[in-house]
């Protein structure tokens, strides 16, 4: 396949940045999207130009490092995959592909397509944990039975990879799916109950301070989430937050 790529280039955080056109040829449909970008970068390096910077690591859809807004969608047009799992068979010969960074005020661009998602980490520092010492002297694991349904729901919420696609897809740049997933995981488990009030209050407070927008329930996040994290998690966070607010 031969493709035209329109890629956001931005030297560093202070640079203004612009879209630049590139051509790539002989792209195999079996390549992953990032392998296609590898081809472009090899081409650029050989020409003595600077390669396009993009985040990636595990290339199997689990580390959450890769991002990219491809043809107007986070992680591209396929569903249930990250960019590294997106394959070129989703595109046709002659296509023009727009490649942009995840955009949000809370995700400033570092270079080209690389953005700073440390806001997510800071939200987790505020309460994304159960305060238990790692001594190993806790009670036996099977002393806390958990209803299978709740355990499965907690697991589904916990499969969030923290990639930021929810924020990037949301017209309001809201991080509620991300935060809702973490709040839900603990809200559904008996271990999480002790700190439930403080957790949701602190995490939401931090989320707001980071400059994410407000959720208007468009549901775009759920559709674009590579792990299919459900909107129910946002609803659960809302009710947890309400409960916590009423408790004071």
């Amino acid at each position: 396949m031969n493709l035209t790529l329109k890629i956001w280039r931005q030297k560093n955080a202070n640079d203004k940045g612009k879209m630049v056109d590139y051509q790539v040829s002989d792209i195999s449909p079996d390549m992953s999207f990032l392998e296609m970008l590898d081809v472009l970068n090899e081409q650029l390096i050989n020409k003595g130009e600077e390669p396009v910077a993009f985040d990636h690591d595990c290339r199997e859809g689990i580390c959450g490092m890769c991002s990219l807004y491809i043809n107007g969608e986070a992680h591209g047009p396929d569903r249930g995959v990250t960019t590294c799992q997106l394959h070129m068979r989703m595109f046709k010969d002659g296509d023009t592909i727009f490649i942009e960074p995840f955009r949000a005020k809370a995700f400033p661009v570092i270079k080209d397509l690389v953005v700073d998602r440390s806001a997510f980490d800071r939200i987790q520092h505020a309460g994304g944990f159960i305060s238990v010492n790692t001594s190993g002297n806790t009670i036996d694991a099977n002393a806390i039975p958990v209803n299978k349904h709740d355990a499965d729901d907690a697991f589904s919420a916990a499969t969030c990879i923290g990639c930021g696609a929810c924020v990037a897809s949301c017209k309001n740049s809201s991080a509620m799916l991300f935060v809702g997933a973490k709040v839900s995981q603990f809200a559904l488990l008996p271990q999480g109950q002790v700190e439930a009030t403080d957790r949701v209050m602190n995490m939401v407070k931090q989320m707001d301070e980071e400059g994410f927008g407000n959720c208007t329930n468009t549901g775009a996040c759920e559709v674009e989430c590579p792990k299919g994290i459900s909107l129910e998690n946002i609803a659960r966070m809302n009710s947890e937050y309400l409960k916590a607010s009423l408790k004071g």
């Binding site: 030297k11 560093n12 195999s28 079996d30 390549m31 992953s32 081809v39 090899e42 650029l44 390096i45 390669p51 910077a53 690591d57 595990c58 290339r59 199997e60 859809g61 689990i62 580390c63 959450g64 490092m65 396929d78 249930g80 799992q85 394959h87 068979r89 570092i110 690389v114 700073d116 998602r117 440390s118 980490d121 987790q124 520092h125 309460g127 994304g128 944990f129 159960i130 238990v132 790692t134 190993g136 806790t138 009670i139 694991a141 099977n142 806390i144 039975p145 958990v146 209803n147 299978k148 499965d152 907690a154 697991f155 916990a158 499969t159 990879i161 923290g162 603990f186 488990l189 271990q191």
Partner: protein, 670 residues
């Protein structure tokens, strides 16, 4: 220097308890005066950083990714072993210990492995308390499954994302400490050297990957949890950024590198599809619980399949060769990874590979789908003879067990594995070798510790499935935090370590010079060009089957490639910015040195054991004909290499392995 493993005296079951009772402790007030650097935030590094901070030490943690949560432990799929015996199938600490030593082909240190088995149960308790959502049964209790090389079900799991859930657990423990200010986290920082002052590790030099700034960080001890070096093969199941640099720099500063040739080639990975490939994807070993591995019996069928004239589903049962079940009736499809990988290679080398490249075998779920489907139909009181219904019900069961893996496969290969068997082939996955450590997990450099995959200690020559997660967390949560106190107890009056010493200056200067070299070198080829070449040499000559000729060639080829690299490598961009090519150049430079030591180690080890298979050392006759032939008389030792300026000049030190609690036997899975 002689190698002292510092294994405590006494019966194996009491060693760890006695050791803990006798080592020095640092009192809580003094812990506040002590800094510890942790490099890497995977299961080992993350859990160590969290626990050390919780104990009261000031921790500085470093990772090259944008968040600690991205470390490659996250990609571990299948599960984590623990001797809980929840299934009542006769499991015990001893059995886990025994299975691990046997699975490692009797090349691991008994005392370390026993300790690992001993603390394994604590890991599960700990993780559940942290809110890790393990899979559960309908009664609300934890579920288990079975992994290769064992006869019990001791593997705890969270669908096919166990590593993710465990890492997020460790990450949450870290977050708590970061929030309290006890861990200072440095994301997007790469460690480029260890600083040794007066013979003790006292700090590291890092590069800020965003700004390019070179920084000095000091501490009273340095812990490396920087993972394995499988990417020396270029194509592996490791993450793109996984590298040996931290461990290799430690090696160059005096830490011995042990058993570099012990590499695990994982049998169930998605086959290579072309030259463009940047990495390989693992399909969890847990799939072998339900999947049956086969190739056609008749070579004509193989040809027909390759030409697209025949579909695998059309081959009759009697014309299929379930070669693992045939060769290893006792363990069948659940033989250890090294055995399964070699068996696949044997079939493919004989011409029975089922894809265009001839390097793939089938992993088939049809019989499991039928079995589960019938079971479900029975439970629900439906017609067990309705094939379509049974298939549908069976597929649903398979989906709940392995859904994410099946989806992953379909996205990559573009075939539906519920309908047609998966194609798989072995790929580099894990490195059992690593920095040599004693019982305290300290390297040969005082104050420098190595944990998790970065060290060599627990898996011998082959690691069993679901044991890497166990080892990473055992080291980080329950072993290192105790043993490091023994060393740090002498440092309570040292005070803060200055970064203004000549040692820091010298280390920083080296780092800067190397970076300057890369950005200024007028080369012809990209970093990847060299990395791919190195990978090809490693895979072809130091891969699944090794021999004297290939290894000797590999050593000289790697050396030549390294020389070419230093002449011809081309790194665009500058030093003071986000520059991934620059970061990669440094990593590949280290792989080019490690690769040679790797081949040298493989050449010197004149036996076949675990992941190290020498074609010149196989059983010639008898029931075990064609299987690996170990030489316990001459090679029951750990090969620890000391750096002497060039990989070729590395000096061998031996730690003889003593087996007091397990009888050395030929490993049989028949």
């Amino acid at each position: 220097m002689s190698l002292d493993s510092k294994v405590p005296k006494g019966p194996i079951a009491d060693k760890w308890t006695n050791h803990k009772n006798n080592i020095n402790l640092v009192n809580p007030a003094n812990k506040r005066l002590i800094d510890v650097i942790v490099v890497g935030t995977g299961l080992a590094g993350g859990s160590a950083a969290a626990t050390l901070a919780e104990l009261g030490y000031n921790v500085k943690a470093f990772c090259f990714q944008d968040s600690p949560r991205r470390a490659h432990s996250i990609a571990a799929q299948g599960g984590i072993n623990a001797a809980k015996n929840y299934q009542g199938d006769g499991d015990s600490n001893y059995r886990l210990f025994y299975d691990t030593v046997k699975g490692g082909d009797y090349r691991s240190r008994e005392a370390n492995v026993y300790r690992l088995a001993e603390v394994s149960a604590n890991i599960i308790d700990q993780c559940v308390a942290q809110g890790v959502p393990f899979a559960r049964e309908y009664g609300g209790l934890l579920d288990n499954r079975s992994f290769g090389g064992v006869l019990v079900s001791r593997t705890f799991y969270a669908a096919g994302q166990t590593g993710q859930q465990l890492l997020l657990g460790a990450y949450s423990a870290m977050n708590r400490q970061i929030g309290r200010g006890k861990i200072k986290m440095y994301n997007r920082h790469e460690m480029l050297d260890v600083v040794v002052v007066d013979g003790k590790a006292r700090g590291i030099i890092t590069r800020n990957l965003v700004t390019g700034e070179i920084e000095r960080h000091s501490a009273h001890a340095v812990v490396l949890g920087s993972g394995g070096y499988g990417n020396v093969f270029f194509l592996s199941t490791n993450a793109m950024g996984s590298n040996v640099t931290a461990a290799w720099k430690a090696h160059k500063r005096g830490a011995y590198f042990a058993n570099p040739c012990y590499t695990q080639i994982h049998p169930t990975c998605i086959p290579v599809s072309g030259d463009h490939q940047s990495k390989l994807t693992l399909m969890s070993e847990s799939l072998r619980n339900d999947g049956r591995i086969w190739v056609p019996k008749n070579i004509e069928d193989v040809k027909a399949i390759r030409e697209g004239r025949l579909k695998p589903t059309e081959i009759a049962e009697e014309n299929r060769d379930y070669y693992l079940e045939r060769r290893y009736p006792a363990f069948g499809n659940l033989v250890p990874r090294d055995v399964a990988s070699r068996a696949a290679k044997e079939r493919c080398d004989a011409g029975y590979g089922v894809n265009a490249t001839g390097e793939a075998v089938y992993l088939d779920f049809a019989s499991a789908i039928t079995r589960y489907g019938k079971e479900q139909a029975h439970v629900k009181g439906l017609d067990e003879n309705d094939a379509a219904l049974v298939k549908k019900l069976g597929q649903e069961v398979i989906k709940t067990k392995y859904g994410n893996l099946f989806q992953m496969y379909e996205k990559i290969v573009d075939q539906n594995p519920y309908e047609t068997p998966m194609m798989i082939y072995p790929a580099v996955h894990y490195t059992m070798g690593g920095l040599w450590v004693d019982y305290n997990l300290q390297t040969t450099v005082p104050g420098l510790y190595a944990i998790g995959e970065a060290n060599f200690s627990d898996h011998g020559a082959n690691r069993l499935g679901a044991s890497a997660l166990m080892q990473g967390l055992a080291d980080g949560y329950f072993v290192l935090p105790y043993t490091i106190g023994d060393y740090l107890a002498d440092d309570i009056r040292t005070g803060p370590i200055s970064t203004e010493s000549k040692e820091f200056e010298e280390a920083e200067k080296n780092v800067r010079e190397r970076i300057e070299f890369f950005v200024n070198n007028e080369g012809k080829h990209s970093v990847d060009y060299f990395h791919k070449k190195l990978g090809k040499i490693m895979w072809n000559k130091v891969g699944m089957a090794r021999n004297v000729k290939g290894l000797t060639e590999a050593i000289s080829e790697i050396k030549a490639l390294r020389e070419e690299f230093w002449k011809e490598v081309k790194v665009p961009g500058t030093a003071n910015e986000f520059n991934e090519e620059l970061a990669k150049a440094g990593r590949v430079a280290d792989f080019l040195e490690l690769g040679e030591l790797f081949a040298k180690d493989a050449l010197h080890r004149e036996e076949s054991c675990g992941g190290h298979f020498r074609e010149d050392f196989v059983e010639e006759s008898g029931e075990q004909k064609g299987e690996a032939k170990r030489d316990d008389e001459n090679f029951a030792y750990v090969a620890a290499w000391e750096y002497k300026g060039q990989p070729s000049e590395a000096q061998l030190h031996k730690e003889e392995l003593e087996f007091n609690d397990i009888e050395l036997k030929q490993r049989s899975y028949k």
